[in-house]
């Protein structure tokens, strides 16, 4: 926004944003960016730092950023905690649920989205309209009835309740259909001329070409399942079957005076998604911005 000092002669050749800025403004801009970045990172550093403190250091005023007596006590407390707060077990549950959920979403949404993008059949428009319209229904509407259905299926208090119902969401089909529409149809036509059938074209041509999109959907589904909070709070009753998000609430209630333990739990819940974020940052951000633009 501060690029006003235009040198009109250079304007046609260089895009405005690349024009050289006066040094002072540039420094000011970077200073602002760094301050903003600190605001975004400081709470996460605080979480890590607290998790490495002793319980009393964590709340002794004035607070310090660097632990005075660095210790992994909080983590060993968590590892040794009995069946009341089995954090490792929650971690495993979360990992299993989120992975299975991501696989299920991709495996069901991809063929459905392909049918919606390329095939002709009766009621196609109505089915598509019905699926997409549910994107606008607030989730709370589904809460009670889905609970009763899951109960009837015998899934209450099991990981299946955390894996399967969420995969019915419209997002995956909506997202992949847009991307399949963008795959050049000529490639598929050529394969049909060679005698391939729908299934072969889908698995040998369309899916390999759509790998980035499938990866994006898998990562986004993993993240949303890993972070899911309200649903597991109410469908899981047994401590050892909880996932990390409701587990953190349990931890918060069990260790009201021991902040390092609660923060250690939060660190354990954050590390896998932060690693995934660092590895798949482009996929995640592109996925979000694409659905944004196309929504």
């Amino acid at each position: 926004m501060a690029t006003t000092v235009a040198t009109p002669t250079s304007a046609p050749a260089v895009p405005p944003a690349r024009r050289r800025r006066p040094l002072g403004r540039s420094v000011g801009f970077y200073a602002g960016m760094v301050v903003l970045a600190v605001v975004f990172l400081a709470p996460l550093v605080w979480m890590l730092s607290t998790s490495l403190k002793t319980a009393s250091d964590a709340t002794d005023l004035p607070l310090t950023w660097i632990p005075e007596n660095p210790t992994t006590e909080a983590y060993s407390t968590i590892l040794q905690a009995g069946s009341d707060t089995p954090v490792l077990r929650w971690f495993l549950n979360s990992m299993v649920a989120a992975t299975a959920h991501a696989v299920l979403v991709v495996a069901t949404a991809a063929p459905a989205a392909y049918a919606m993008a390329r095939m002709q059949f009766r009621f196609k428009r109505s089915i598509l309209a019905a699926i997409i319209s549910t994107l606008f229904i607030p989730n709370i509407i589904f809460l009670t009835p889905t609970f009763l259905i899951v109960d009837r299926l015998g899934w209450i208090d099991t990981l299946i309740a955390l894996i399967v119902p969420g995969a019915a969401g419209a997002f995956g089909v909506f997202f992949l259909r847009q991307l399949f529409l963008a795959v050049p149809v000529e490639l598929e036509e050529a394969a049909y001329l060679d005698g391939a059938n729908r299934f072969v074209v889908f698995t040998r041509i369309v899916l390999p070409l759509s790998k980035p999109a499938l990866a994006t959907l898998a990562v986004l589904s993993f993240l949303s399942n890993w972070n899911e909070f309200l649903w597991p709070v109410y469908v899981i009753f047994t401590r050892t079957r909880e996932t990390l998000p409701p587990g953190l609430a349990t931890l918060q209630g069990a260790f009201t005076q021991n902040y390092p333990v609660v923060m250690a739990g939060a660190v354990i819940a954050s590390v896998p998604v932060l690693i995934l974020y660092v590895l798949a940052q482009r996929h995640i951000i592109e996925g979000v911005s694409q659905t944004g633009v196309k929504g």
């Binding site: 964590a58 063929p111 606008f136 509407i141 009670t144 009763l148 259905i149 739990g265 932060l274 633009v293």
Partner: protein, 314 residues
């Protein structure tokens, strides 16, 4: 990257008219659809209708029969003497307050950040990734973390405010309006990157030439923002406002973990109350009716918003 996004969009538009040809057996499309449709019917379509049915019954999970009560679950909500009605409307009020306070900053601040990120500079991708990072952490992590940071007695924020001599012991989580300020600020911190990334993709679609022409005509940066950026972002802005209103009206975890609905039940939002009524106390008929009332308000709100947006488009 968002440049790729936009070219993918135009390619999609170009490919769309190429009508799909029927190939293979007539049942082939249904075979492709079947797995997803099964999930969709059982966990989306049926619940959407089943919910209405539940709301017409005195549906209690803990008792065997659930007698039909007609609209009683709804009319009870408008009965002044009913205790549940009072609590419900209190929670609706909390949701309304949070939506009212949170939507303006959640629409405006990410836009400012997106405009800054839209310039090309060294480290742009890094900063974008940093601003987006909190969003990949779930609300449970954010909730327990800020429950600690905002703690009035031993929290980091009050410690600093005290040391700087600005204020002491501000009740960030135990008093209103401070609790609302906390919940809104945490939500901005958590989801800023999400909205910013959507704006950023929209900004990339605004032709650079428009800015160049405006600069040549002597427009300053504020004028360019007002006359080029904002109109160019109109559709994206409508989208962001819509999803932000919906997300704010569905807020749950922040209240649950940071203020625990308090002080009293001031920040106990509608979702928190309905979930507790239905799945905590197992009064499912009543909870289902409440969720439809909440949806009714959201539909009215959305209709009003779209009417306003249409006027803006003209």
């Amino acid at each position: 990257m968002s440049v790729q996004t936009s070219s993918a969009t135009s390619r999609a538009a170009a490919a769309a008219p190429a009508r799909p040809v029927r190939r293979g057996a007539p049942w082939t499309p249904y075979a492709f659809l079947a797995p997803y449709l099964l999930l969709f019917v059982v966990f989306v379509a049926v619940p959407a209708v089943f919910g209405l049915w539940i709301s017409l019954h005195n549906w209690d999970y803990l008792i065997d029969n659930s007698p039909f009560v007609g609209l009683e679950n709804y009319t009870r909500l408008f009965d002044r003497d009913s205790l549940a009605a009072g609590d419900f409307w209190q929670s609706m009020r909390a949701t309304g307050i949070f939506t009212l306070y949170s939507v303006p900053p959640l629409v405006a601040i990410p836009l400012a950040v997106a405009v800054l990120l839209n310039r090309s500079f060294r480290g742009r991708t890094f900063f974008r990734a940093v601003f987006f990072a909190p969003y990949v952490l779930g609300i449970a992590v954010i909730g327990v973390l800020f429950g600690f940071i905002l703690d009035p007695n031993i929290g980091l924020l009050n410690d600093y405010l005290g040391r700087l001599g600005i204020a002491r012991n501000i009740p960030w989580t135990t008093s209103v309006p401070e609790a609302w300020i906390s919940l809104v600020s945490v939500t901005v911190w958590w989801t800023l990157g999400f909205n910013a990334v959507i704006y950023l993709a929209g900004l990339q679609d605004i032709p650079r030439e428009l800015y160049e022409a405006a600069s040549v005509d002597g427009a300053n940066s504020w004028q360019r923002f007002w006359h080029i950026t904002l109109p160019g972002l109109r559709r994206v802005l409508v989208f962001v406002i819509t999803i932000t209103v919906l997300a704010s009206a569905n807020m749950f975890g922040q209240s649950y973990l940071i203020t625990h609905g308090g002080p009293g039940s001031e920040t106990r939002v509608a979702i928190m109350f309905i979930a507790e009524e239905g799945l905590g106390n197992f009064r499912m008929g009543s909870a289902a009716a409440m969720s439809y009332v909440l949806m009714f308000f959201l539909v009215v709100l959305a209709t009003g918003m779209f009417a306003m947006f249409r006027r803006w488009e003209d």
